[in-house]
């Protein structure tokens, strides 16, 4: 279930009366969910899966750990959480978005909400991406089950082995998963090797739940993720090791009577460590060590209310994060003293918020969804003297209030449905935007300096959608418009000089008076014949600053279309996707014009049984015609992967 933001029905599921069934459903809704896979491949990475959402695009710095952009906005504008838990990457160069710390076999779904409707877990502008973990229900008929997936991808010699296992009894549930991926360098469409594009990932997760009473349960969860020897061809350094441990303990109580239906509380802790490595790049003039650490403690507590036509969820969030990043440069004469600075000078962020989202059925065909949140954001920079170099006298501590409001009206008349919504919200600057110190951005080749005095970014949004559905055909259009006041972006500073030798100058984060963003997605789905389905999505976006200049990383006009055919045990699918030429690029932010491209993909699968086991084998090719291309959001214009033949086998037991 990739529930896209405008679809609010996914957000306020009417709670059923039958509480025992509900416990199975709410605590643990694994089995019934659609698997994490995309139109083409049955075994995908989290990134490949997210890419199938029409409002997600990616900045790619290599083959691994793509930075997801929601509504064409960079990741500091969205809240990305794992089951509502905040995790913050430990890399100043964004090598480790949160999506890189999970694996497709420990996820059940990814919940994407657009704009202020995504305010439940924290303040946002673009929306929220919540990675929902697998959660097996109590008392399944089949006490033990699981799946094993393995495969090989020829282009970069990727092998993967993913396994997951569950145990379910009336009182006790255990979920476990383990995943290994290892890939070499990939080859582009000219069959040239893209050096430093290898990766090696290990991910394991464990969840244990115990039913403390017929209406309550406790659950503890942990994810351990380790990436080793990951190349970033678009960056001047690679990753030697990144590790995350993500843990939580939750208590859930259901209520049979009254307004409150569910109360769910969770405490969590996660720690991320990240060590970059440039010894793989002997051509670098300067050897540097750039380790980073991020530690977060948090709490969230949520109640669901329901009465007649009204349902609501109220959530309290709190977390404390400490982000540290160091930079040590070695002189050419190694006997001399090293040079040291913090790129994140021990920055603490404490955040607390109360959010409430409500749905009220006005009639059988119309519904009002409205909500709001109020957040308090506190920052503390331990070594504030680093920040004072560019911003003398800026405060060491800073408090910000982050309000958010949204409302939308949904109407369903026969085969048509419409919605109209609006929202308003603040976000606080990220650690890098407020306290970053000489963070080198290899895209525009500037060193970036944070500004602790930045104003909150304030978003005003409007959104609308229309859809039409028959048994065989569905078409829809969704659009949103953001007017973002005090839009945070880096601007060239006339002060100071670069610290990183590849850099050409210093940029400071500043606020533009405003920026605007418009996103439009059209989609259609048609069943041509029984078993033969066609799908298509077209997206358009436009982002401008207050002077009418283009914002960077705005996706050009792009499309995705696919055909699926299923006959008995055989499935065949083909898809095509591409971008038109990038007309509105932004040279000011390091962009050049990216040409159009078009990629063809095909795959076929066969379902069979081995004894009692159910298995699927798939073979396919991505970029069938070996097109040489790079997209508008490929860091440093690195070429994408050429033809990739992939095979995978999945066994369910």
């Amino acid at each position: 279930m990739l529930s896209l933001g405008w679809n609010v029905h996914g957000q306020n599921n009417p709670v059923t009366r039958d509480t025992t069934r509900r416990l199975a459903e709410v605590t643990v809704n694994a089995a019934a969910k659609k698997r994490i896979e995309n139109d083409l491949k049955m075994t995908v990475s989290v990134d490949e899966y997210l890419a199938s959402a029409s409002n997600i695009s990616f900045i790619k710095r290599g083959a691994y750990a793509w930075e997801p952009l929601l509504n064409n906005m960079s990741s500091e504008r969205s809240t990305i959480t794992i089951d509502g838990m905040h995790v913050f990457g430990a890399c100043t160069d964004k090598m480790d978005p949160i999506t890189s710390y999970v694996e497709s076999n420990n996820l059940a779904a990814i919940d994407i909400k657009s704009g202020q409707e995504g305010n439940l877990h924290g303040a946002t502008v673009a929306g929220s991406i919540d990675l929902k973990r697998r959660n097996t229900a109590f008392g399944l008929q089949k006490k033990i089950g699981g799946a094993y997936q393995t495969g090989f991808e020829f282009n970069n010699k990727q092998t993967f082995n993913l396994g997951n296992l569950y145990y379910s009894s009336d009182k006790f549930v255990a979920d476990g998963s383990i995943a290994f991926r290892k890939a070499g360098n990939y080859y582009d469409g000219n069959d040239d090797e893209v050096r430093h594009s290898q990766y090696n990932k290990f991910n394991a997760s464990l969840g244990l739940a115990y039913k403390t009473s017929p209406l309550s349960a406790v659950r503890v969860d942990a994810i351990f993720d380790r990436a080793k020897d990951v190349g970033f061809p678009a960056l001047p350094m690679d990753l030697s090791l990144s590790r995350a441990i993500i843990t939580s303990a939750a208590y859930k109580q259901l209520f049979e009577e009254g307004l409150v239906k569910v109360w769910d509380t969770k405490v969590y802790f996660n720690a991320v460590e990240h060590y970059m490595d440039d010894t793989t790049r002997p051509e670098n003039l300067v050897h540097m060590d750039m380790p980073g650490w991020s530690t977060t403690y948090g709490l969230l507590s949520k109640i669901n209310l329901q009465k007649d036509r009204y349902s609501s969820e109220i959530q309290v969030n709190a977390y404390d994060n400490l982000s540290i990043a160091e930079m040590r440069m070695y002189p050419q004469d190694r006997s001399k003293q090293t040079m040291f600075a913090y790129s994140w000078p021990w920055v603490t962020t404490r955040f607390a918020s109360v959010a409430m989202n409500n749905a009220l059925d006005l009639s059988d065909i119309s519904r009002l969804v409205f909500g709001g949140s109020l957040g308090l954001n506190y920052n503390y920079s331990k070594y504030v003297e680093f920040n004072w170099i560019f911003h003398p006298g800026s405060p060491q501590k800073k408090n910000r209030f982050l309000p958010s409001l949204h409302a939308s009206y949904q109407l369903n008349i026969g085969q048509f449905d419409f919605s109209l919504g609006t929202g308003f919200g603040h976000r606080a600057p990220s650690v890098s935007e407020a306290y970053g110190y000489y963070i080198y951005n290899s895209f525009d080749r500037y060193d970036y300096i944070g500004n602790p005095d930045l104003k909150n970014e304030v978003s005003y949004e409007a959104n609308a959608s229309a859809g039409f559905k028959t048994g065989k055909l569905s078409i829809g259009a969704k659009a949103n418009y953001f007017f973002i006041q005090d839009y945070i972006i880096g601007r060239i500073l006339s002060l100071g000089s670069p610290m990183n030798y590849q850099s050409v100058g210093v940029k400071g984060y500043t606020s533009l008076d405003h920026a605007t963003l418009f996103n439009l997605a059209l989609n259609a789905q048609y069943q041509i014949l029984p078993g033969l389905d066609w799908k298509a999505v077209l997206t358009y976006a436009r982002g401008q600053d207050n002077m009418g200049g283009n914002l960077p990383f705005i996706r050009p006009l792009s499309y995705q279309t696919s055909l699926h055919y299923r006959y008995k045990m055989i499935g065949v699918q083909t898809s095509m996707n591409g971008d038109f030429s990038q007309v509105n690029f932004s040279p000011e932010y390091g962009e050049d014009q990216t040409a159009s491209y078009k990629i063809w993909n095909v795959s076929a699968d066969y379902t069979f049984t081995i004894g009692k086991l159910n298995a699927v084998f798939q073979v396919g090719a991505e970029n069938l015609f070996n097109e040489y291309y790079s997209t508008y959001a490929d860091w440093g214009n690195i070429p994408r992967m050429g033809r990739n033949i992939f095979t995978s086998l999945k066994i369910n037991f």
């Binding site: 090791l241 460590e273 003039l285 050419q332 003293q337 040079m339 070594y383 003297e385 560019f390 000089s497």
Partner: protein, 301 residues
């Protein structure tokens, strides 16, 4: 079932705690990092003491050592017999260098020492222009007044080579033909931050063979990292040094990271004429060692 559950939880928590404590790389101890090259020398200790006219005179400096460059000096005078304090109305300090030809030169110093009530000592400073050697001898002449009567005492002292580059000095001949000296006074221990930079600027009075404070000049500042890999890196928001009421020159230097820095100077007189120093290139040139002004002082922290 419950037992099994508890066992599992214990096992699992053990795994987690193991993973948590095992952080792969240690974080830098920043407090230690800052002090890497500069020894903590905050305590005044006795350098030497002498007895003169029935009084014991104790001369103190940080760490009990006098170094080439700027030194804070304290003088404590007591009665010789019982070491009781005496009412000293003034103390004058005169540091004198005697070179191999027997020529005596007075280095920059504070002549009239200040009385500090709580510690009952007199404080001042001296900028020793050279370290002691076979060719260079140093002595301190102390004139003190007790009950209207002035006594004079002289003591030979040893001046050690400077170990803290943040207390470096430079001597040069200005375009006006005069002999100048610039001595760094503060910060003793810089940090990656905005640092208050204090220097003394002196001129040799050739007739008197004594250094005197230069008044009303401006010392223009351009700090840069000379290391080739730093490509002539500089910092923002620095302030040129101008003279304040204490006679010393005060400005601001920002160090963006630890390591070697060069303070490039241009000394300008009260009429805006350049006395010494040259502009340095401002462009970022990775791989090339930064060019220095003709007037500079290197520091390290």
């Amino acid at each position: 079932m419950r037992d099994l559950f508890i066992k599992k939880v214990v096992f699992y928590s053990a795994i987690i705690s193991f993973l948590l404590i095992a952080c792969t790389k240690e974080k830098t101890d920043y407090e230690a990092e800052r002090g890497n090259t500069v020894a903590e020398n905050t305590e005044f200790k006795e350098v030497t003491s002498l007895v003169s006219s029935g009084y014991s005179i104790r001369i103190e400096a940080l760490g009990g050592v006098l170094y080439r460059g700027y030194n804070d000096i304290r003088v404590i005078i007591n009665k010789q017999q019982n070491n009781e304090p005496v009412a000293v109305s003034s103390v004058k300090l005169l540091p004198v260098q005697t070179n191999v030809q027997g020529m005596k030169i007075v280095c920059p110093h504070q002549s009239e020492m200040d009385y500090t009530l709580d510690g009952r000592y007199f404080s001042g400073y001296s900028v020793f222009t050279d370290e002691s050697s076979a060719a260079v001898n140093w002595s301190l002449e102390i004139d003190f007044t007790v009950g209207g009567q002035t006594f004079t005492a002289t003591q030979h002292v040893t001046v050690k080579p400077q170990v803290n580059k943040n207390r470096n000095l430079t001597t040069f001949t200005g375009k006006d033909g005069e002999q100048y000296l610039i001595a760094l006074i503060a910060p003793w221990k810089p940090t990656v931050s905005e640092n208050k930079l204090v220097a003394g600027i002196y001129k040799l009075d050739a007739a008197q063979l004594s250094y005197t404070t230069v008044n009303g000049y401006t010392l223009q500042l351009d700090p840069r990292m000379p290391e080739p890999s730093m490509g002539n890196h500089s910092s923002p928001n620095n302030k040129d040094l101008v003279q304040q009421a204490d006679g010393l020159y005060h400005g601001v230097v920002n160090y963006t990271m630890t390591g070697n820095w060069t303070l490039n100077f241009i000394l300008v007189n009260q009429n805006g004429r350049v006395i010494a120093g040259t502009e340095v290139p401002k462009d970022f040139t990775p791989g090339v060692e930064g060019r220095k002004s003709e007037l500079y002082i290197d520091i390290l922290f």
